[in-house]
């Protein structure tokens, strides 16, 4: 991704929102998140846009719709009088109480992400996944449970799922998670009592849940806990060998992206005539569209990494 004069940004993840653009158009949440992560001066100017309110730029109407991915995430509809193009950005259609709910938008041309664009990805219900931790807790509440979760979006979602499942103890956070959690709370997402890990003794964390970015699990940081149970919240966790390889003891299949069934349901429901597939495993989704008489082509973009 390059810094450009005018950037329209779908959401705050680093592979979508970068620093140095001159003008940024995004939802207020996305702008706030960018400022928290990169500082107030990470772009020349910011213009915030509300969901559902069209903005006219060069005879094109731009409308943002909730994408259900993280707080402030948007799909962007670009309309002329004749045609509607929808860019999904990263999205998921399944419910998530830590962000605005996804809305289906009909269009003539769809650009969809395909992070989990293989039929092996059929994400189970997240509320069942989170129970794995609570069940492990019932059996052994003397261990420290460290959950690997990305600082923006995933972490807050995991906390929210724990709260919705009735866990109301203090949850401890790696330093990098604090600011974004505070921001979510300021936006009315109730995350309960949170505290930084800081320099407490390893005994202080016995029977506690700690949330840290996945990179910290492999890092020296994790050595402060004696013999913790490593958990990891990610859509990739459905693949056992992959979970095993990252030394995860409790894999939590919790994803912020559509699984295969959500992807194909969206393609069918939005009544599009043509699909461009990007960000992920394009081949399988293109193959599926073509065998279902929908025009589809892969759209290759730069700077793409895994979730």
């Amino acid at each position: 991704m390059m810094a450009v004069e005018n950037a329209i940004i779908t959401h705050g993840h680093a592979d979508h929102a970068r620093i140095g653009h001159q003008n940024v158009l995004a939802t207020q949440n996305t702008i706030d998140i960018m400022k928290i992560r990169y500082g107030d001066k990470c772009a020349g100017s910011f213009q915030s846009i509300e969901y559902h309110k069209p903005l006219k730029i060069n005879n094109l109407n731009f409308t943002f719709f909730p994408a259900g991915h993280i707080l402030g995430s948007a799909q962007i509809l670009i309309e002329t009088k004749k045609s509607r193009l929808l860019i999904t950005g990263d999205y998921k259609t399944s419910p998530d109480s830590s962000c605005q709910s996804y809305e289906l938008v009909e269009c003539d041309q769809l650009i969809t992400e395909a992070t989990f664009g293989l039929p092996v990805f059929q994400h189970p219900k997240p509320e069942n996944e989170i129970k794995k931790i609570l069940k492990a807790f019932e059996k052994n509440d003397t261990k420290t449970y460290i959950i690997g979760a990305y600082a923006l979006g995933k972490s807050q979602r995991v906390i929210k799922l724990l709260r919705d499942a009735g866990y109301d103890e203090t949850i401890y956070l790696h330093g990098s998670q604090l600011k974004i959690c505070d921001y979510y709370i300021s936006q009315g997402i109730n995350l309960g009592n949170l505290e930084p890990v800081s320099y407490k003794k390893s005994e202080d964390f016995e029977g506690k849940i700690v949330i840290a970015p996945p990179s910290a699990l492999k890092d020296k940081w994790s050595r402060r806990f004696s013999d913790p149970v490593i958990c990891y919240a990610s859509g990739w966790m459905s693949i056992k060998q992959r979970a095993k390889q990252s030394l995860v003891e409790i894999p939590l299949i919790i994803s912020d992206h559509c699984d295969w069934n959500e992807l194909i349901t969206t393609i069918k429901s939005c009544k599009t005539k043509s699909v461009w597939v990007t960000h992920g495993r394009e081949d399988a989704l293109v193959h599926w569209c073509n065998s279902n008489n929908i025009n589809a082509e892969p759209l290759y973009m730069q700077g793409r990494e895994e979730e």
Partner: protein, 524 residues
């Protein structure tokens, strides 16, 4: 099937051996017969489903999903059971009663292929992804969940509050679903009685001797010494009807050695080393390799490379268990037995006379350096015959290791306690200007050294491949190893036996390391 598949998942994802053992114990305690027996047999590999192979599942999945999509997925996931279990279309089928593990196994084993297909199809539709994975793994074999038979036996011993040795001694004579075993573990019945000649008896193994520590504590007159023969350890089980040769892991290898089978008689269980050569003169291991893994050796090869056994020990004679007698007594019985049952394939491994440890050291140097023997065995005269590797009774004193200076190339994070440390190291040597891998080692260093190595790896990473880091080719590792062989495993075309990191040569530069061509010259 549900409890069984949760057990498998739990075992797969639990890195700690102790926690795996607890999971097994919990399963044994909470699962009725005969399911628990079948489950343990499946995990230890004693039980296999017949007739179902990978192609069975390929056919099954073809009817369920677009095969192109399946192929793309398989390519990405890399494991058949995982791919099928995950790609299987989720259907809202009403779940009737749970099918038990043994009911499933009986259904599968008692039916034709087309019936098997119907049964599995139905079950796959009713299961979740993890259960589907378990069904496929169970029917095609090989769970790869990091649980050894030993761990299962330990869990059983703890569950029944029994001595592990008592379980080891009957294990190979039991058959699943182990009803008699569980009855005994739960004190509802006596220990299962198994005829000695119906089973392989687990072998007793030795620890490497620590010259500095052990010799001070050990009294030379309490020990026997004998040569450490470089063949394969075998057990001969003989009675009037049957004659069997087992490898050290309990696999029957009688078929490969008809020359031995036809030349031995008697009623005993013997422990020894299988070697090749004439007149009990052992040829190097390379020759023996030509006889191994041949299910039906030709007469020609048997004539060219005849096999024989150097006997170390006797475990049973005429149905009497001798294992609780001291070794000195067993050796006495062994020589008498051989006098009564002479064979051109059996010889005694001689006991070496020595005065003290220094004397024995001279003998060891002479035998390893002049006669290229593997080393010596040192066995307590009082030792009873226990399974596994009991401490302080038997020692092996191997010839001195060989050394190479190599260059650290890759490092991988370890498991369990070592999971935040880069502790598995791949090292290589110069081949002209390129560096080619020659081996891997993950021990030989102290905890302090590990911390330093870990730090060095983190600071000098140049590439990452999943859990593996490639490092700058700057650190010299002095590797100790037992022997070197030609092998396709590593790019260098060589493989080291038992490599370990002897010293980290922070002081050496990489142009002082050994070159591949020189290594080849020196060893071949």
């Amino acid at each position: 099937m549900k409890t069984f598949s949760s057990l498998l998942e739990k075992l797969l994802f639990t890195p700690s051996r102790n926690r795996k053992k607890s999971a097994l114990k919990e399963y044994i305690a909470n699962t009725p017969d005969p399911d628990r027996g079948y489950a343990l047999a499946a995990i230890t590999g004693d039980f296999k489903v017949k007739n179902i192979t990978a192609s069975f599942y390929h056919e099954l999945i073809k009817d369920q999903v677009d095969y192109e999509l399946f192929k793309m997925s398989y390519d990405y996931v890399g494991d058949l059971a995982e791919t099928i279990s995950l790609i299987w279309p989720i259907k809202s089928v009403k779940i009737q009663e749970e099918l038990s593990l043994h009911a499933f196994i009986n259904l599968i084993n008692g039916n034709s292929k087309s019936e098997q297909k119907k049964i599995i199809l139905d079950l796959m539709n009713k299961s979740n992804a993890n259960e589907r994975w378990s069904i496929i793994k169970l029917t095609t074999g090989g769970f790869r969940i990091g649980v050894s038979a030993k761990l299962v036996k330990l869990a059983l011993a703890e569950y029944g509050n029994k001595n592990i040795e008592d379980i080891e001694r009957i294990w190979h004579g039991l058959s699943y679903p182990y009803l008699n075993l569980f009855e005994w573990l739960e004190n509802k019945s006596f220990k299962p009685k198994i005829k000695f000649s119906d089973m392989f008896h687990p072998m007793m193994l030795a620890h490497p001797i620590n010259e500095e520590k052990d010799f001070n504590k050990l009294k030379p007159s309490d020990f026997f010494a004998e040569l450490k023969w470089d063949g394969i350890r075998v057990q001969l089980v003989l009675d009037n009807k049957n004659k069997k040769v087992y490898s050290r892991t309990g696999d029957e290898i009688s078929q490969s050695f008809p020359d031995i089978i036809s030349n031995i008689n008697g009623n005993a269980v013997l422990d020894g080393e299988l070697l090749v050569g004439r007149k009990f003169e052992a040829l190097p291991f390379n020759f023996l390799q030509k006889r191994l893994n041949r299910k039906k050796p030709s007469k020609k090869i048997i004539n060219e490379i005849p096999a024989f056994v150097k006997l170390y020990d006797i475990l049973f004679e005429n149905g009497n268990d001798l294992r609780d007698l001291p070794l000195s007594k067993r050796r006495y019985i062994l020589s008498n037995w051989l006098k009564l049952n002479p064979s051109e394939c059996l010889d005694i491994s001689k006991i070496i006379d020595f005065k003290d440890w220094n004397d024995l050291k001279q003998i060891k140097i002479e035998s390893t350096e002049k006669f290229n023997q593997e080393g010596l065995m040192i066995k307590s005269k009082n030792s009873v015959y226990l399974s596994g590797r009991p401490r302080g009774l038997w020692f092996k004193w191997k010839k001195n290791p060989l050394f190479l200076d190599t260059i650290l190339m890759y490092a991988q994070r370890g498991h369990g306690k070592r999971s935040s440390y880069y502790s598995d190291f791949t090292f290589g040597v110069f081949n002209d200007n390129a560096i080619v891998p020659i081996g891997k080692a993950y021990f030989g260093f102290t905890n302090e050294e590990l911390k330093k190595l870990d730090n060095w790896v983190r600071k000098n990473t140049i590439n990452r491949f999943g859990p593996v880091r490639e490092v700058k080719k700057e650190l010299v590792l002095e590797i100790a190893f037992d022997s070197i062989n030609v092998s396709k495993r590593h790019k260098s075309g060589l493989a080291l036996r038992f490599p370990r990191i002897h010293r980290i040569r922070w002081d050496k530069s990489t142009n002082e390391t050994d070159y591949l061509k020189d290594i080849k010259k020196a060893f071949f």
